[in-house]
């Protein structure tokens, strides 16, 4: 053994060292545990030196590196600044070109669709004057432009031509304090006069406080001014408080949003309908005719009952005419009319045959009943314009049926009266 160890001493040490390390690895792999002591020693020995090296590097090589880097920073900064400025200019130019192309396209589309004959123009300058809002456009009398023509864009009206020169025209914008145009609201059909205020918003004047105007409601040209064709958008209401007499309706002109660059001059205007216009009084609903009906002796409602005072008066006058053998609308001027003083329902005098009628209604209502002819012939059918009280009521059943009984009741509101019943 001693001989073996002395002869193979180096190999033995190698095997021992290798075996020890193999066991170390086997232990770590099997237990999944680390040997923290060796690592702590190594890290503790190495990292301070590493930190020192990093510190030295930072204050030596880093400083030198920063110095050489900073040498070129100023020139690079100037170069980048110049490049940035050029790119900004180029970007703005491209943006404006894009916007111009969009506007031109929308103008051409609008020009093609609009029934009015228009000519496109470009704003080439502003007018002088502190408060005046006028611009020059590059179309003049040689292009057919005349004073008083409307100037619009697809988004809304812009102004009107106040002077037409051969090669250019002076356009008064709708924001000019002296501008005025007739407008109408889209929803409630409120008419007013658009006035410039010298700033971005315009005022719609002469609208009664009683009129209803909603915030955000659109105003369109009404065509009343004979300058702007009817139906061009003007703007949306931003505020509509009540004033002393008239509302103070402020609108934001839609045609001047984002500035005015390209416009259309209306050479021959054609009125259009206000788009999307709603019924003036969409909230009103007609109530059904009154159900209080004079009961006949048989218990059923009288046939052909009249619904309104006008209907009843018409029936009374008609019966008076029949009674007095007078035909309305005949005879030359100056022909003696029927004697309306003998209308008992009007003057409170009951008709001669009123007492004979078995009515359960109040006398006033009974007085409204026209007199029946003594022959007992059927009562003439009510006029076609007179609507029956109820559509499901039974029709007249012969001469025994009394004439339609008028019902005394408060007159219906005027707004609820159908137009064809008047």
């Amino acid at each position: 053994m001693d001989f073996f160890l002395s002869r193979y001493r180096h190999l033995t040490v190698l095997l021992v060292v290798i075996t020890a390390q193999l066991l170390l690895i086997a232990y770590q792999v099997k237990t999944s545990k680390d040997i923290p002591l060796i690592r702590v020693w190594a890290v503790t020995a190495v990292t301070p030196v590493e930190q020192g090296l990093e510190l030295v590097r930072r204050y030596t090589w880093g400083f030198v590196e920063d110095y050489f880097v900073l040498l070129g920073v100023r020139s690079q900064n100037d170069k980048l600044r110049n490049e940035n400025g050029q790119l900004k200019i180029e970007n703005n130019y491209l943006k404006s070109e894009l916007a111009t192309a969009d506007r031109a396209r929308s103008l051409s589309v609008f020009e093609a669709r609009s029934p009015s004959k228009t000519v496109a123009a470009r704003v080439i300058g502003n007018g002088t004057g502190a408060n005046s809002k006028v611009v020059f456009v590059d179309r003049g009398s040689t292009s057919g432009v005349e004073s008083g023509m409307a100037v619009v864009t697809p988004d809304g009206i812009v102004g009107k031509v106040v002077e037409a020169y051969p090669t250019a025209s002076l356009v008064m914008l709708i924001t000019d304090p002296t501008f005025a145009a007739g407008v109408v609201s889209q929803k409630n059909r409120v008419h007013g006069t658009l006035k410039g205020q010298g700033h971005a918003e315009c005022l719609v004047d002469y609208v009664q406080n009683e009129e209803h105007v909603d915030i955000g409601e659109w105003f369109y040209t009404s065509g009343d001014d004979r300058i702007f064709p009817k139906g061009f958008p003007v703007g949306q209401v931003t505020a509509a408080p009540n004033g002393k007499t008239f509302k103070e309706i402020y609108i934001s002109p839609s045609g001047m949003q984002g500035g005015v660059e390209e416009v259309l001059i209306v050479l021959q205007g054609v009125h259009q309908e206000v788009p999307g216009a709603e019924v003036a009084s969409p909230a009103y609903s007609l109530m059904p005719a009154p159900t209080e009906i004079i009961q006949t002796p048989e218990g059923g409602p009288p046939p052909g009952s009249l619904s309104t005072d006008a209907d009843r008066l018409r029936a009374i006058y008609k019966d008076v005419g029949i009674e007095q053998k007078h035909t309305y609308g005949e005879g030359p001027p100056g022909t003696k009319p029927p004697d309306f003083t003998k209308i008992p329902s009007v003057h409170g005098v009951p008709p001669p045959n009123a007492a004979a009628q078995p009515l359960t209604s109040p006398p006033a209502a009974a007085q409204a009943q026209p007199a029946q002819p003594p022959t007992g012939r059927p009562k003439p059918a009510p006029s076609k314009s007179v609507q029956p009280l109820k559509s499901d009521q039974p029709p007249a059943q012969g001469p025994s049926q009394p004439a339609p009984a008028a019902v005394e009741r408060p007159p219906a509101p005027a707004a609820t009266q159908p137009a064809d019943n008047q």
Binding site: R9, H10, V13, L14, V17, I18, Q21, L22, L24, I25, A26, Q28, V29, D34, I35, I38, R39, W41, A42, V43, A45, V46, V49, E50, L53, E54
Partner: protein, 184 residues
């Protein structure tokens, strides 16, 4: 012809039987024995941060080879290799002992070779550095697969190229390290 054969025989005898290095009797100061491997390990973990392509440089291995070639004894060489390998393991995420085993073997074999060859010769130094780099990488790959079960690939071509580069670095490095020795 006889004269030529005699010359070759003398050269071979001198290559095989001459003392390892002419300054093999010289020794490092103790401080250098600690500082040099520390620098080598530090350079391996620190320099590639700023010069990534120097990651191929296996300075701890070259230090081990140099020490083994000049130490004159396998036990000292394998112990030194084990020490440097364990330090490397401590700074890695692998189980401690992987680099230790490989560098222990490198130290042992390098020390054994130094008894046979004239390691002072640059050509021999270059070849040995190249060989031990290849052996180091290959044996580490074998151990990783055998002991840890890792399925790492072994790129022989890349290892050969890196071996040549390390061998090229070894020549001036060994000269530099020789100058740090002091005569006995």
């Amino acid at each position: 012809m006889t004269e030529y054969t005699q010359t070759m025989t003398e050269y071979t005898e001198r290559l095989l039987n001459e003392t390892p290095r002419k300054d093999a009797s010289d020794r490092f100061r103790i401080v250098w024995l600690v500082v040099i491997p520390l620098i080598a390990v530090l350079s391996q973990v620190y320099v590639p941060r700023f010069v990534p392509f120097l990651a191929y440089l296996e300075l701890p291995l070259l230090i081990t080879v140099h020490f083994a070639l000049t130490s004159g004894g396998p036990i000292g060489a394998l112990s030194y290799g084990m020490f440097i390998g364990l330090v490397q393991d401590s700074l890695s995420h692998q189980p401690i002992g992987m680099y230790g085993i490989v560098k222990t073997l490198v130290g042992y074999f390098a020390a054994s070779v130094s008894m046979r060859f004239d390691v002072q010769n640059p050509v021999v130094t270059f070849i040995l550095a190249f060989f031990f780099y290849f052996f180091h990488q290959f044996f580490y790959w074998v151990l990783s697969r055998a002991l840890l079960g890792e399925t790492l690939g072994f790129d022989a071509q890349q290892t050969l190229i890196f071996g040549l580069l390390n061998a090229a670095v070894a020549l001036p490095l060994f000269r530099l390290l020789d100058k740090l020795k002091v005569a006995r």
